[in-house]
Amino acid sequence: MITSKSMPADARTRSFGWIIPLACAVVLALLAPMWSSYLSDLVVKIMILSIFALSLQLLVGGTGLVSLGHAAFLGIGAYATVLASSPEGGNFLVLLLAALVASGLSAAFIGAFSMRTKGIYFIMVTLAFAQLAYFVFHDTSVGGGSDGIYLMVRPAIGALDMESSRTQYYVVLGALVLVYALLAMIGRSRFGAALAGIRVNEQRMRAAGFATYWYKLAAFVIAGMLAGTAGFLLAARDGVVNPELLAWHHSGEVLLMVILGGIGSLRGAVIGTVTFVLLKELLSTHALVGNLADHWQLTLGISIIVLVALLPKGVMGIGEQLARKKKQAGGAAHG
């Protein structure tokens, strides 16, 4: 993690680090009944994409593997959910399991081959495999071709029925909390430390006796399954899946969210997702920006360029940047 060059202050924030995310989750849970359906829908979308971004953060920030094909696992999870459910709907847990198995197996397959490459080649191989998966759904009849397929009845188990938007909200919130907690635990575990070691210097880790290939593959499979979870939730929310879920633009967008937030911290992934989705939403709202809303791609593009230019370490780096500026200003005054 970026904060690993820790100062004493960091140690303190670290041990209480879970308080802020937990508080956010509690606030989200308490506020939900007061929100309009538009707002609650937007929050659900952001939470699902946050899970997706968090899963990629494990690869990019946690292990140093930059994948440009991560949307494949989101899409495969979503397709598995719809394909495994019958016209009368399906069991929530069974369909979730189907999504996890499908995304996990495909991640194991793709990962096993991709791990042979490094750096930019890895970026491109993951992209190539994701394109392959895209064309499987786009060009064949497996998943209804380019139109995609509908989920007639949303998954349910007992009283837990995804047909209700309130249930959807709490299920997605619960999933986000679990995924966040899981990744936080991985980050602190020996396994997470080994991944961080691989990110910094793979050669040295190998020399130290770590089978780095298997560590990276395990990270890839976990990330794929978490993305598959996001895909399951997305399919359950939208009731429809189409090949665009796997398109490289989607992989690019989620990578964007991770970079925008700040690479290396779980919070960064969530903050990046919130920033990106809200930015997109604001820039395409007529009430706020008038006719410019028709050209939201233009303004979004310019905003991204400006953000990158101003925030080389992402939104999470703002504090650090301000602190440095303050120090410089202070130094200049004294000098």
């Binding site: 080649y121 050209h295 791609q297």
Partner: protein
């Protein structure tokens, strides 16, 4: 498949492959030499195609003049873009480059929508290239495709000569293998980069102009071609112009014949090729082992 059909498919493969080479050699220059991952490269191809659409009413019959005018405009555009955006990106890591050039794609796409709309357009080849000739007395082959192949061949040969025989090419090659050494030798790396970048943009735009009369001019044409370009660069080995040529032709053949033999799954054939090659040679066909 009879001989004439086979020949036509071969010609199409070579023509498509060479067009890909124009595009991917531009990307190789920018990506392999300057170390910038430029996702906006496909946008330059799109800009070229739309330039052909815009210039055709005036210069359509003087097609070669039109190509030259387009190349000059693209060089100017590339020079300005390098100055405005890309010169900031050299010191940044790859991820930031991905992010910023992704932003540029959005800007270019929307500007295109504002300026020319979202319709699909066609560009007519000039009258003197409009016909076709007969191949083995069975199949007809359009003259324009022959012209496109010849132009691409000339540019490819010029590129090869430039990279391997000129002083600029020497600097480019040196820059690709060891940037610090080039800087150490006192070569103005900033200017070198600006020239290389402008050349890359011009090559992509030229490819777009040549492609316009064969394929229609449509929104998002840039992003689909971008991925294929990256595939070519990675298959060939990053930074290698020869590798880009070999990979372009390979992809041209696989794509063209994939469409003939496996209609349903033809979209995949190129990515399958890439996956196979990278599993076999993770550093690409002509890449250096690290």
């Amino acid at each position: 498949m009879d001989l004439a059909t086979f020949l036509v498919q071969c010609l199409n493969s070579v023509q498509y492959g060479l067009l890909l080479f124009l595009l991917s050699s531009g990307l190789t220059l920018i990506f392999g030499i300057m170390g910038v991952i430029n996702l906006a490269h496909g946008s330059f191809y799109m800009i070229g195609a739309y330039m052909a659409f815009a210039l055709a009413p005036y210069l359509g019959q003087h097609f070669i003049t039109m190509l030259l005018v387009g190349v000059v405009l693209a060089v100017v555009l590339g020079y300005l873009l390098e100055w405005a955006f890309f010169s900031f990106l050299y010191e940044r890591d790859h991820l930031q480059q991905v992010l910023m050039t992704f932003g540029l794609i959005l800007v270019f796409e929307e500007l295109r929508a504002i300026l020319v709309g979202n319709d699909v357009h066609g560009v007519q080849p000039p009258e003197w290239l409009a016909g076709s000739f007969s191949l083995l007395g069975m199949m007809s082959y359009p003259w324009y495709r022959v012209f496109a192949t010849v132009v691409c061949l000339i540019v490819a040969a010029a590129m090869y000569w430039m990279v391997n025989r000129t002083r600029l090419g020497m600097m480019v090659r040196a820059g690709a293998s060891n940037r610090d050494m080039v800087r150490g030798l006192g070569i103005d790396i900033k200017r070198l980069y600006r020239i290389v970048f402008a050349m890359g943009v011009a090559l992509a735009a030229l490819a777009g102009m040549i492609a316009a009369p064969m394929a229609s001019v449509y929104p998002n044409m840039g992003s689909s071609v971008l991925i294929i370009c990256f595939v070519v660069v990675v298959i060939g080995g990053i930074g290698s112009i020869t590798g880009a040529l070999v990979a372009s032709l390979l992809v041209g053949f696989v794509d063209t014949f994939g469409k003939v033999f496996f209609q349903e799954l033809s979209g995949m054939s190129v990515y399958l090729l890439m996956a196979i090659i990278l599993v076999w040679r993770p550093e690409g066909l002509m890449g250096k082992r690290s």
